[in-house]
């Protein structure tokens, strides 16, 4: 039985706060979203999942010890204890949902969701069934990811995606694009405009080669800064980790409505 105390009600102009209680060891409050963070120090312009300014609500980041890109992309099961400890700490800090700064955390989606009481959405890939239901039955989901060869069915399965839905996905990776490819091996700096050009050009190639793509999904949390450029180029819905986090935040932080009759 969890000892986590929830105070999920909205405090507004008419709220009369009375007796208040808090979880033992909760030293802070007010974070709808807790984000498990990859050990990667890429520059983070607004739009990054690991950029606090990407959201219009507070988010809390905690680094997962040992979670470098290679181990996360490969789904290294030895990381599970550290992942679960971090998720539990974020829950104790008052976060109402748990996410991550890399779509390949989706390799661990099922295990982490099972270990904490709050909802867990570690990867943008979790959105696949929700995207598919909105499409025509002959349309495809175009997934643009950071590392194509590592995006295997195992990750989709952990994210609760059926084989049938997986087969509706067309997967392209940016791992061979000259600037994007430096992300894994040379942290610390990159040319943002250069990456934008690379991603837009891959997206255009995807719709050229698969005219039945009905929606885009950006697996990689480095890509949301360029989502609007991709949308401008392909004129399709673009789902990414930021759209996912904003959506789930809205369901764990319901506000009363005010307005005119």
């Amino acid at each position: 039985m969890s000892d986590i105390v929830r105070n999920w009600g909205y405090v507004g102009p008419e709220t009369e706060l009375g007796e208040m209680a808090i979880t033992e060891g909760q030293y802070m409050a007010g974070f709808p979203v807790g984000i498990m963070t990859l050990d990667a120090w890429l520059p983070k312009p607004p739009g990054y999942t690991s950029q606090a300014c990407s959201y219009d609500f507070p988010v809390r980041y905690l680094l997962v010890q040992g979670a470098d890109q290679k181990r996360i992309h490969g789904g290294d099961d030895n990381l599970l204890p550290a992942l679960i400890a971090t998720a539990k700490q974020l829950e104790r800090d008052g976060c109402r949902m748990i996410s991550s700064t890399c779509g390949y955390f989706g390799n661990f989606q099922a295990e982490v969701a099972d270990a904490v009481d709050v909802p867990v959405y570690l990867s943008a890939v979790c959105q696949v069934p929700w995207i598919r239901v909105g499409l025509k039955s002959n349309q495809k989901i175009g997934i643009l990811c950071g590392d194509g060869p590592s995006l295997k069915y195992r990750l989709f399965e952990s994210c609760g995606i059926s084989r049938e839905d997986f087969d509706r996905c067309v997967i392209y990776g940016a791992q061979d694009a000259p600037i994007f490819s430096t992300f894994i091996h040379k942290p610390g700096h990159y040319d943002v405009e250069g990456v934008k050009g690379e991603l837009v050009s891959i997206a255009k190639k995807m719709v050229r080669e698969h005219p039945d793509i009905g929606a885009f999904l950006l697996e990689c949390t480095d890509m949301p800064p360029h989502a609007s450029d991709i949308q401008r180029a392909v004129n399709l819905p673009v789902f990414d980790s930021v759209t996912m986090i904003k959506y789930v935040k809205s369901v764990v932080c319901q506000h009363p409505y005010y307005g005119y009759f």
């Binding site: 909760q26 120090w41 312009p45 300014c53 990407s54 507070p58 405009e193």
Partner: protein, 264 residues
């Protein structure tokens, strides 16, 4: 602590019409976009909106890190053995990209001078640092009324560390939470409290300040638990109310300058 090398600042505002080119980030910075880094007391009081320990108090992103061993007793007393942990935490917040360092307890002010000296980012650990700024706006005969968690902790050493002169200190009158049952219990009984009962006590303390000091020109909350009550105390006293939330928001404005747009 591992030596991560030089800090890289990216303080420019990124807005419409701007193109980002080559970007650099410091080794070990895993996140970005935080304005204030807030060193956090080892205390799990419920934190209503307005509390400095509540992220929804601020109009910009803030990051909290708990300072190992920093319980209320040691921070109120200014226990110097905490200094290494404080400086380590401040440096980590700076490394995480925070543009200023603050704290969740006004008594962190005991360490203001040493922490400010140890990091490159500006440091404002206690609402008490606002005193010279409050005083300059008042008439010569007016007083600053301080409501603090515990009078004994509000000592010469704290004022001195916060850069408050003896002369300015003489302009201050303080009342402490030690005389009030709920306010006092915040130090000894974490986990819960009654919000309305605490509000009633803060009203009594403010009323006492006004009653005993007809020349009161402003109120300052030392305690980071009190900003939720600032509007109520202002409505009651019709005085400027300074607290740690006003301090952090003010600094946020200086650290995150945005271009202005409009008509000419």
């Amino acid at each position: 602590m591992e030596d991560y090398g030089e800090l890289v600042r990216n303080w420019g505002y990124y807005g419409p019409g701007q193109t980002i080119g080559d970007l650099h980030v410091q080794r070990g910075q895993y996140m970005g976009g935080f304005v204030a880094g807030i060193m956090t007391l080892h205390s799990w009081l419920p934190k209503a909106p307005g509390h400095i320990g509540n992220a929804s108090t601020f109009p910009f992103p803030v990051r909290y890190l708990v300072v190992e061993g920093a319980d209320q007793m040691r921070v109120h007393a200014g226990d110097e053995t905490l200094l290494p942990a404080l400086i380590k935490t401040a440096k980590q917040l700076e490394r995480d990209g925070c543009r200023m360092i603050a704290s969740t307890c006004g008594y962190f002010g005991h360490f203001q001078k040493q922490v400010a000296d140890a990091v490159d980012a500006p440091v404002y650990l206690s609402a008490v640092v606002q005193i010279p700024w409050i005083r300059v706006a008042l008439k010569k005969n007016q007083k600053i009324g301080i409501i603090c968690g515990e009078s004994a902790g509000l000592d010469d050493a704290l004022f001195d560390s916060c850069g408050v002169s003896k002369e300015d200190r003489a302009r201050c009158v303080a009342v402490g939470g030690e005389t009030k049952p709920v306010f006092r219990s915040l130090k000894y009984k974490p986990g819960h409290y009654n919000y309305q009962a605490l509000k009633a006590e803060i009203r009594e303390l403010a009323d006492q300040l006004v009653r005993e000091n007809p020349d009161l020109g402003a109120i300052l909350f030392e305690c980071t638990d009190l900003p939720p009550f600032a509007a109520d105390i202002q409505a009651r006293t019709n005085l400027p109310v300074y607290d740690s939330a006003t301090m952090i928001r003010f600094l946020g404005a200086t650290l995150c300058q945005k271009p202005y747009y409009g008509f000419i």
